[in-house]
C-alpha cells in the first residue's frame, strides 16, 4: 500500500476508476435484486451507496466482494476485467469489506484476530511479536486507535469495528467497503470514525460507504449513488443534491396515498405505554421514555429502520424482556414487567417478529401449533383433550385463515412463509384478543399472503381490537395504520395523526431529515 500525498477534490474527481462495475445484474429466482447497475470507485474518494432495504445495495457489494456472482455485467480492476469468485480472490485484488456483524474471536488479542488464518509464524509456532509490531505500525499509519495486545472481547464496539477495519487494511486493500458502519457506534465514536475514514481517503484508499443516514453521508462522502428497486437512480457529487432530493430519490416520487383502507374509529384506550425505558445487558439505554396509547378500533403503526429499538420495545410490551422503567397497561391492568402468561391473560395477542424461533414449534404439526393457543379453553376438550374437537377446530381455522397445508397433521416446518404466518395468525387472532401486537408481520411473504395478513389486521381493528403494528416497511404502515409513530434510536421522533401521510413524508422522517 503506497502512501500517496493527499489529493485535492478536483484531482479526485478526475482520477481514473480503481474499480468499475458495469451493467451488473443479479437475480434470485424470479426476483431481480440488481439490474444493469454501473458503479465505479476512485482512489481517494468516499463514495456513498444509498437505498432502502431491499434496494440492492448488499447484493451489489456482495458481487464486488466475491460472496456472490453476478448473472450479467462485468467487473474491471484498473481497466482489466476480473472474475471475483470468492472473498479470498477479492482480497487478492485489493478489495476489503467490513461487515455489519463482526467476525472476531473474543478471547484473542487484536493482533491475533487481525492475522487469523495468515498468522506470521516460524514452523508451527506463532510469532506474536512480529504480529504485534505489524499491527501497531498499521494502526499508526491509518490513525486507528488500537493496541495490538488488547483482548478483543473486552473492547468497545467501536474498537472492535476498528479491528475489523484493520484486518481489511492488513491485507493491503485499495478499496474498502463499509456496510452500515455507524449502526453500532455511539455518536462520539461515529465522529471519530468519520475522521479515520477521511484519513484513509487522504491516503489514496477508495471507500464505499453503505448507509441509511443522510446526515452522515453528507458529512463524509464525496459522491453518492442511489439505488432503488435494483436500479441506479442517481450518481452525483454530494454537493449537488440536497437531503430532500436524496430522500425523494431513495423512496420514489411523491405519490398520493392510494389506500383503500378506511380510517378506524378509535374508542377506549386498551394499551397504555408511558415513559418506557429499557437498558440492555451492557447497561446502555435502548429505549428512552417511549409514550403512546392504542385504542379499540385503531391501528397504530410504529415505523422505523430495523435496529432502532423496535424489537426491544415489542419484547418489553409482551413480557419477553423486563423494562427498566415506565408503565405498560392493558385494559387498565398494569402489566409492566409481567411474564408473557400474565400479559396474555390481560388480553394480548402477539404476532412475533421471529416467526420460526418464537411463533411456532417447527417440529410440531399445524394442529398442535394452533391447539396450544386454546389450552385454557373448553374448545379442545374437557378434562382430557379431545382429538376430534381439536381437529374440527383446526380445520375450521385452516379454512378461515386460508392455511394451505395438506392436512392438520402436516409438520409446521414444511409450511411456506405465508402459510406459517397465517397459522400464527390463526392461533393468535381467532380468539379476538383486545390488544394485538404484531412485529414485521409481512416480512418475507409473497404478495397474496401479504394482502391477506394486512386485511386480517384491518378486520381485527374493525371488530374492536387495538392493533399495534411495528414495521420497517413504509408502504405497509402508511397503507393501513391510522396513526403513525416514527421511531429512531429508541425514541419517538415524529407522530402523524388525523390523516395518512405520504410515503415520502414518512420516509424522510425515518432517514433523519425533518419533514
Amino acid at each position: 500500500m503506497t502512501i500517496k500525498p493527499s489529493t485535492s477534490a478536483l484531482d479526485r474527481q478526475s482520477a481514473p476508476a480503481l474499480l468499475r462495475l458495469e451493467g451488473i445484474t443479479k437475480r434470485f429466482g424470479r426476483m431481480v435484486a440488481v439490474e444493469g447497475v454501473h458503479f465505479d470507485v476512485r482512489a481517494g474518494e468516499i463514495h456513498a451507496l444509498l437505498g432502502e432495504n431491499g434496494a440492492g445495495k448488499s447484493t451489489l457489494m456482495n458481487c464486488l466482494f466475491g460472496l456472490t456472482q453476478p448473472d450479467a455485467g462485468r467487473i474491471l480492476v484498473n481497466g482489466k476485467p476480473v472474475n471475483i469468485t470468492s472473498p479470498r480472490r477479492a482480497q487478492e485484488l485489493g478489495v476489503g469489506m467490513v461487515h455489519q456483524h463482526f467476525k472476531l474471536v473474543p478471547s484473542m488479542t487484536v493482533a491475533e484476530n487481525v492475522f487469523l488464518g495468515s498468522e506470521p509464524h516460524t514452523g508451527p509456532f506463532l510469532r506474536h511479536r512480529a504480529a504485534d509490531e505489524t499491527v501497531a505500525q498499521l494502526a499508526k499509519t491509518y490513525g486507528l486507535d488500537l493496541r495490538p495486545g488488547d483482548r478483543v472481547g473486552s473492547l468497545s464496539v467501536g474498537a472492535q469495528q476498528r479491528v475489523e477495519i484493520l484486518r481489511a487494511l492488513a491485507k493491503q486493500v485499495r478499496v474498502l467497503i463499509l456496510d452500515e458502519p455507524t449502526a453500532v457506534l455511539t455518536p462520539v465514536e461515529a465522529e471519530r470514525f468519520f475522521a479515520v475514514i477521511k484519513g484513509f481517503a487522504a491516503q489514496g484508499l477508495a471507500i464505499v460507504l453503505i448507509s441509511h443516514h443522510l446526515n452522515e453521508v453528507r458529512q463524509v462522502a464525496d459522491r453518492v449513488t442511489v439505488l432503488r428497486r435494483g436500479r441506479k437512480v442517481a450518481d452525483a457529487p454530494i454537493g449537488t443534491l440536497t437531503n430532500r432530493d436524496l430522500a425523494t430519490l431513495i423512496i420514489g416520487e411523491e405519490r398520493p396515498v392510494l389506500s383503500e383502507v378506511s380510517m378506524g374509529k378509535p374508542g377506549q384506550v386498551r394499551l397504555d405505554v408511558a415513559g418506557l425505558t429499557l437498558r440492555n445487558g451492557k447497561d446502555l439505554e435502548i429505549l428512552h421514555g417511549v409514550d403512546f396509547t392504542v385504542s379499540t378500533g385503531e391501528i397504530v403503526g410504529i415505523l422505523g429502520i430495523a435496529g432502532n429499538g423496535q424489537t426491544e420495545l415489542v419484547e418489553a410490551l409482551t413480557g419477553l424482556r423486563r423494562p427498566s422503567g415506565g408503565r405498560v397497561a392493558i385494559n387498565g391492568i398494569d402489566v409492566t414487567g409481567s411474564d408473557p402468561g400474565t400479559i396474555r391473560r390481560a388480553g394480548l395477542g402477539h404476532i412475533p417478529e421471529d416467526r420460526i424461533g418464537r411463533g411456532m414449534a417447527g417440529y410440531w404439526t399445524v394442529k398442535d401449533n394452533i391447539a396450544v393457543g386454546y389450552l385454557d379453553t373448553e374448545e379442545v376438550g374437557g378434562r382430557l383433550l379431545s382429538n376430534a374437537r381439536i381437529t374440527a377446530l383446526v380445520r375450521r381455522l385452516m379454512q378461515k385463515f386460508d392455511i394451505r397445508a395438506s392436512s392438520p397433521e402436516q409438520l409446521a416446518r414444511r409450511l411456506s412463509g405465508g402459510n406459517a404466518q397465517k397459522m400464527v395468525l390463526a392461533r393468535e387472532l381467532s380468539r379476538q384478543p383486545s390488544v394485538v401486537i404484531c412485529a414485521e408481520p409481512t416480512r418475507g411473504l409473497d404478495i397474496a399472503a401479504t394482502d391477506f395478513v394486512r386485511a386480517e389486521l384491518v378486520a381485527q381493528r374493525d371488530a374492536g381490537a387495538a392493533v399495534l403494528l411495528v414495521s420497517s416497511e413504509i408502504e405497509e404502515v402508511t397503507r393501513i395504520a391510522d396513526r403513525i409513530l416514527v421511531i429512531s434510536s429508541g425514541r419517538v421522533i415524529a407522530r402523524y395523526e388525523g390523516r395518512r401521510p405520504t410515503e415520502a413524508e414518512v420516509g424522510r422522517s425515518m432517514l433523519g431529515e425533518a419533514a
Binding site: S107, L116, G117, P124, V184, T186, G307, T311, R321
Partner: protein
Amino acid sequence: MSAVGDFLFLVLTSLVPILATAAGGMFADRARAPNIALDGCMLVASLTAVVVGTVTGNPWLGLLAAIVAGAAYSAVLAFAAFALHCDLIIAGIAANLLATGLTLLIVQHGLHSAGTYAPFGTALIPRVPAGPLQDVPILGRAVGGQSALLYVAVIATIVAAIVMNLTRFGAHIKAVGESEEAALAVGIRPVLIRTIAVLLSGAFAGIGGGYLSLSSVATFNSDLTGGLGFIAFAAVIFGRATPLGITFASLLFAVATSVAIYLQGSGANIQQLVQCLPYVVTVVALAIQAVSRSRRQRFDVSDTNYVPAIIPRG
C-alpha cells in the same frame, strides 16, 4: 510430617490419569467438540496397554499402543459426530457404553477370562526414585517412587499448553470454538480442526488409560476407570479448558480421591461411603461454577432468541 508427605504421594498418584486425560480434553472442549467419551477411550486404551505390554514385554510399547488406541477409539466418536451427524454428546455416551461392551467382549472371549484380566509377570512402567530430592522434607516422600508417567503427564500438559497458546493450530482451535464465522471467513475448516482436536483428546486419554493398567498392577477389568474419564471431563469444564485451570481442577479432584483412599484405612463402615468423595466433589465444583456464572450473567431473554445489541445515538 511424613504423613503429609505420604498424603502428597497419594495425591500425585491420583493426579496422573486425571491430568493427562484433562489436558487432551482441553483441546476438544476449546474447539467446541467436547469429548464426553474420554472414559471409554481410557478403557480401551488401558486394555490395549496391558495386552501389548504383556505380549511385547515392554511397558513403553504398551503405553504407545494405548495412545494410539485412545486416538483410534476417539476416531469412532468423530466419525459418528461428523460423518453420521449424530449429536456429539449422545454419540459420546454411546461410545462409552460401546467401550464397556467391547472391552468386556475382548476380555471374555479373546483373553478367556471371566471378567478380570490379570496377566502374570508383565513388566510395569518403571518408578522414579526421588534421587536428589530424597532428603527434602515433604517433597522427598511425595515424589520418591512415583511412576514415570507422572512426569509424562506433566510434560504432556505443558506441551498441550504450548500448543494451545503458542502455535497456529492452537489459534485455529480457539477460533473454531468461539466464533465459527470468524474461522470460516478466513478459510479455516471447522470440521477438520474439530476432528483433530477429538483425536488428540483420545490420544491423551490413552496416557491416562495406560497408567491405570500398567503402573501399579498389570490388571484390567471393565470397571477400571471408575468414572475417571468423566471426572477428567468435569475437570476440563471446571477449569474452563485453560491449562492452569484444568491443572488446578485436576489437583482438586485428585485430592478428593486421595482423601477417600486415606480415609479407607480408618473405620470399616465409613470406607464405602468415602469412596464417593471424588464424585461428590465433582458435583459440588460444577454446582459452584454454575451458581457463580448465573450470578454474573443476567438472563433477560431466553437462549434461542438473541437480540442485536444496537447502541443508540444521542
